[in-house]
């Protein structure tokens, strides 16, 4: 696009990103509070920049009102629709904010099943952003939900005799009275490795009990899920964390689909209010154990990508 001779006072791509983020946040707020209304608007093609006005214009121009009304320009009406994809390049948005924007373009307005295409697009995003291979289905194994609600869990006993006081953070969350579904993380306190320590710190609970093949392939699945590496993403803030499956649950009646350790919930920004929220949970395909547990704030393969690279 040809620029005028003198330098603009600001880079419009920066502003566009900020405005787009704000608009997506408004859209998410509307969808969260009024999912049925959001679905109605979406199904009638009324969500998205310029669409309401486009629709109104069509109605007006197709009816008897056409003509004079076209001259009555609203202050900020008659605007072209922006491209579907946000294609901006600037350093001011964090990786999490950019991921949030990208995910909002893919996800449905409320938690629920994803299409194969949506699942694949998310896998691509996670590779582009973090350099990790994360999938909704690994081999023949998949969870019943990949986009669901996560709730807060307590600390888990890591070894016989473990107490809440021995956990270094988020003690207010308490410690579970029993063991996680896969028992202790270490045979004893003396034998606890850093790996064991991190597994309890960053664990999730998944609903293995409700898997359709749980009873049929019980032995295989119990081993397969034990400390299986997963990535959990909060689409409302774009934060992502790598964890392991450390427990089974929560019960279906809770309305939640996953549980998160106090550290996982805190990093995702979900340890406030009702201590639950929507997340995406994918398996990390990491046979060589290269992906470390904990917050994903790096790219395993390269430098953090700029937005233009992840289009």
């Amino acid at each position: 696009m040809a620029r005028k001779d003198f330098k603009p006072q600001f880079d419009s791509s920066i502003l566009r990103s900020r405005l787009k983020l704000k608009q997506l946040q408004s859209e998410q707020k509307l969808a969260r509070q009024y999912p049925r209304a959001a679905e109605f608007l979406k199904s009638h093609n009324l969500l998205g920049a310029g669409r309401i006005r486009e629709h109104a214009t069509k109605l007006l121009t197709s009816g008897a009102l056409a003509g004079s009304l076209l001259l009555a320009m609203p202050q900020i009406g008659i605007l072209s629709r922006p491209p579907e994809n946000l294609s901006v390049q600037h350093p001011l948005l964090t990786t999490a904010q950019i991921l949030q924007i990208k995910l909002a373009e893919i996800l449905p307005p409320k938690v629920g099943p994803l299409t194969a295409e949506q699942e694949t697009r998310i896998s691509h995003l996670l590779f582009e952003f973090f350099g990790i291979k994360a999938v909704s289905q690994l081999g023949s194994t998949r969870l019943n939900n990949v986009y669901g609600l996560i709730g807060a869990e307590q600390h888990l006993p890591r070894f016989s005799g473990d107490t809440l006081a021995q956990h270094d953070e988020y003690r207010k969350a308490g410690i579970a009275p029993g063991l996680g579904s896969w028992g202790y993380f270490a045979p004893s306190k003396a034998q606890m490795t850093r790996d064991d320590y991190l597994k309890e710190k960053y664990y999730v609970a998944v609903q293995t009990l409700y898997l359709p093949d749980w009873k049929i392939r019980l032995k295989f699945l119990v081993d397969w899920y034990k400390h299986r590496k997963v990535v959990v993403i909060n689409p409302q803030n774009g934060k992502a964390i790598v964890a392991v499956v450390g427990d089974a649950g929560p019960a279906r009646w809770t309305g939640k689909h996953f549980g998160g350790s106090p550290e996982v919930m805190a990093y995702l920004g979900l340890n406030v209010g009702w201590q639950k929220g929507p997340v995406i949970l994918y398996f990390v395909d990491d046979p060589d154990g290269k992906v470390p547990l904990g917050p994903l704030e790096y790219n395993l393969e390269k430098e953090p990508p700029k937005l233009a690279q992840v289009e």
């Binding site: 696009m1 600001f10 405005l19 608009q23 309401i52 629709h55 900020i76 922006p82």
Partner: protein, 110 residues
Amino acid sequence: MNRIFYDHLIQSEEIVAELDGDELEIEEKQELLAIMDETFHQEILKLILDHLPVEQHETFLTRFYQEPYSEKLLDFLKGFASDIEEKIQQQAQEIKKELLAEIRRSRKAK
């Protein structure tokens, strides 16, 4: 007459003026305005739904879909919230402040 029934309650000249001060291509300006316009819509629709009984949501949305420009929609809303015009104006004012702040912050960032 405006395109959307609540347009007259959104005083957005300041936003347009704020962008007018910068040497943006017309397409860029239109795109930015469209994104901001959508933010106004979403926030105002949410405000409207906040003030309507849930059982009236579908009726409102259907009527809005059929005649988004109709002034009768405001009359319909006033039946449930007599001060809805004032509420929309206040909300629009808030959004405008936030959007202007974003524009000004972006300019400073350069």
